[in-house]
C-alpha cells in the first residue's frame, strides 16, 4: 500500500515541494520516508490486536499462569511487532531506492539504527494503547486517529514547512518529526550515525516515556474485549 501511494502521489509531492522551495532530489527523499513512517505508525492497531486476540482466545489468563515474569511475557509479545515495523520500514525504503530512484547519500547503518529506534517507538506506543484501551474497537479508533495525527503534525504526510499555523510549532513534540528529520539527515544530507544521534536520542526518550506510562497503566488482570 505505501508503495502504491508513493507512485500515485509522487508528482503531487514534487509540485508541492517545488512550490515551497524545499525540493532536493525528485521528492522521493520526502515521500518515501514519510510513507514509511506513517504506515509504521498504522501498525500500532495490528500490533495491539495480538493482546486482544489472547483475551478472545482465553489464552491471556493461561499465559499469565506460565512461569514467566510479566515484563518478559509482554516483551515477548512485542518482539514480533517490532520486527514487523522494522521490516516494513526497510521494505518501503528499499522499494524507494529500487523503484523510485531514491538516493541515500548517508550511512545505511545510521538508517537502520533510525528505523530500529522508530520501530521501538511504535512498539512503545502500542503498549501504551493496549494499556489504555478496554476493547479492540477502542484500540483501533485511538491508534488510527493518533497515528494519523502525529504523522500529519510531524511532517510525514507533507513537509512541516507547508503545514498551517500553529502546527509547525507543535511538530517537534511528535516522534514523527524527529524520525523525518533523521531520515532527511541521512538520505538528503549524507549524514551518519553521529549526525542522527540527537534525533535518535529524542526518539529514544519519547519511547521511554511512553513505555514507562504503559507499564504504569497496564493491568495484566484486567479483562479486555476482543472480537466479541
Amino acid at each position: 500500500m505505501p508503495v502504491i501511494l508513493i507512485a500515485v502521489l509522487l508528482p503531487t509531492y514534487r509540485g508541492a515541494l517545488q512550490q515551497a522551495g524545499t525540493l532536493r532530489d525528485n521528492a522521493t527523499e520526502h515521500a518515501v520516508p514519510g510513507f514509511a513512517v506513517m504506515f509504521g505508525l498504522m501498525l500500532v492497531s495490528d500490533a495491539g490486536t495480538t493482546f486482544f486476540r489472547d483475551h478472545s482466545w482465553h489464552t491471556w489468563l493461561r499465559l499469565r499462569s506460565l512461569p514467566v515474569p510479566m515484563p518478559l511475557l509482554v516483551g515477548g509479545k512485542l518482539v514480533v511487532p517490532f520486527l514487523l515495523v522494522l521490516a516494513q520500514t526497510g521494505a518501503v525504503l528499499g522499494f524507494g531506492v529500487l523503484l523510485f530512484d531514491m538516493r541515500i547519500r548517508g550511512s545505511v547503518g545510521a538508517l537502520v539504527v533510525l528505523a530500529a529506534v522508530f520501530a521501538a517507538f511504535v512498539v512503545s506506543l502500542t503498549f501504551l494503547s493496549v494499556a489504555l484501551c478496554q476493547t479492540l474497537l477502542q484500540l483501533s479508533a485511538v491508534a488510527n486517529i493518533f497515528s494519523l495525527a502525529i504523522a500529519g503534525i510531524g511532517g510525514a504526510l507533507v513537509p512541516v514547512a507547508l503545514l498551517p499555523q500553529p502546527l509547525p510549532a507543535l511538530a517537534p513534540l511528535t516522534p514523527t518529526y524527529w524520525a523525518m528529520r533523521g531520515f532527511d539527515v541521512v538520505i538528503s544530507d549524507g549524514g551518519g550515525l553521529a549526525a542522527v544521534s540527537p534525533m535518535v536520542g529524542i526518539l529514544l526518550a519519547q519511547t521511554a516515556v511512553l513505555g514507562v506510562l504503559g507499564a504504569a497503566l497496564f493491568r495484566p488482570s484486567r479483562t479486555k474485549v476482543g472480537w466479541a
Binding site: W57, H58, L61, R62, L63, R64, S65, P69
Partner: protein, 306 residues
C-alpha cells in the same frame, strides 16, 4: 499413596473482588499423589480458588504455598511447579495441535532434548496422535478440549490443576482425561480437579472439597461425607390391615442408618403395627445427596464450616 509433605498448602486464604468477598478463609492441603475433587455450585468460588493458587488473583489475607514456595512472593518460582488448565478453553486456533503443545512446552521451560518426548507423551495421553497436524480451529470442541488438557500436562508438573476439564466432551474423551489423572497421580503428581460431575470424583477415588459461597462446607472422602451428611432411606409400600381390598397400598419413606441390621426390625414392627409390607426399596445415599443437602443449606443462610 500421598506422602506427608504437602505440595499445595493453603492457609486461611481470603480473596475479594472489589467490595465482595469471594473466598472466606479457605484452607487446604494437597499432597503428592493425592487427587482432590473440587466441587461446588456455580459461583461457589472454585475458579477463583484456582486463580488464587496460580497467583492470578491477589489474596487479601492468608497464604498459598506450592512445593513450599510462597505464591504471592515468588509467583514465577511457584508456577514452575504447577500447571493450570483453566475452565475456559485456551488454545491457539491458527496453530496445529502439535504446535500448541510443543509451543507450550517451550514456554514452560522444558529443555529441548526432553521436549519431543514430553510432547509425544502428552499427545498420546489425550489421544491426539492422529490429530497432531490438524489446525486447532478445524477441530471439534471436544478435540480442542483435549488439546487444552495436553498443554496442561506436557510440563509434567508437581501440581496439576484442572478446572472442569471434561466440560462439553464426549464419554471417550472424559475417560481419557480421567484415566490420565489416575495414572499421573499414581506417579506422584498432586491433582486438584474441579468438576460438576460428581461421579468423576468417585471414579478418581479422590478426596472431596465442597465449596459453597466461597467457604469449604465439607471435606473428606466420598464415603466419609456420605456417612457424615446423609443417611440411607427405605421406601416402603404398605397395605393397611383395616383397609378394604380395593384400597391402594400407601407408600412411605423413612431414613435408615444401617439397612442391613435395621431393616428386618423395621419390617417386623410395621407388619405388627399397621399392615403388610408389600414392597421395599432401599435408597443408598450418594455424593450428589450430600452436595444438594449442603449447598441448599448454605444457600438457605447457614454458614457452617467443616
Amino acid at each position: 499413596m500421598p506422602s506427608s509433605e504437602p505440595v499445595l498448602d493453603i492457609d486461611d486464604a481470603v480473596v475479594r473482588y472489589g467490595n465482595r468477598r469471594v473466598l472466606h478463609g479457605v484452607s487446604l492441603q494437597l499432597r503428592a499423589g493425592q487427587v482432590i475433587g473440587l466441587i461446588g455450585p456455580n459461583g461457589a468460588g472454585k475458579s477463583t480458588l484456582i486463580k488464587a493458587i496460580a497467583g492470578l488473583v491477589p489474596i487479601e489475607s492468608g497464604t498459598v504455598r506450592v512445593g513450599g514456595v510462597h505464591v504471592a512472593r515468588h509467583p514465577v518460582r511457584a508456577r514452575r511447579l504447577m500447571s493450570v488448565a483453566t475452565q475456559e478453553l485456551a488454545v491457539f486456533p491458527p496453530l496445529t495441535v502439535a504446535e500448541n503443545v510443543r509451543g507450550w512446552a517451550a514456554l514452560c521451560g522444558i529443555p529441548r532434548p526432553q521436549r519431543h518426548q514430553a510432547v509425544a507423551d502428552a499427545l498420546a495421553a489425550m489421544q491426539l496422535d492422529e490429530l497432531r497436524d490438524r489446525k486447532v480451529v478445524e477441530l471439534s470442541g471436544g478435540e480442542q478440549r483435549r488439546t487444552h488438557c495436553a498443554m496442561a500436562i506436557v510440563a509434567r508438573p508437581r501440581l496439576l490443576i484442572l478446572d472442569e476439564p471434561t466440560s462439553g466432551v464426549d464419554p471417550d474423551t472424559r475417560r481419557a482425561v480421567l484415566e490420565h489423572v489416575r495414572r499421573i497421580s499414581a506417579t506422584g503428581t498432586a491433582v486438584l480437579y474441579s468438576t460438576h460431575y460428581l461421579q468423576e470424583v468417585e471414579y478418581l477415588d479422590a478426596d472431596v472439597l465442597l465449596l459453597s459461597s466461597g467457604r469449604i462446607v465439607a471435606a473428606g472422602t466420598p464415603s466419609e461425607l456420605i456417612a457424615r451428611y446423609s443417611t440411607a432411606t427405605v421406601e416402603l409400600t404398605i397395605r393397611d390391615r383395616q383397609a378394604d381390598g380395593l384400597a391402594q397400598p400407601r407408600q412411605e419413606r423413612r431414613p435408615i442408618s444401617d439397612p442391613v441390621t435395621a431393616l428386618p426390625m423395621l419390617l417386623k414392627d410395621l407388619t405388627e403395627e399397621s399392615g403388610d409390607v408389600v414392597g421395599v426399596a432401599v435408597h443408598q445415599p450418594s455424593l450428589e445427596d450430600v452436595f444438594l443437602r449442603l449447598t441448599q443449606r448454605q444457600r438457605g443462610g447457614s454458614s457452617s464450616v467443616v
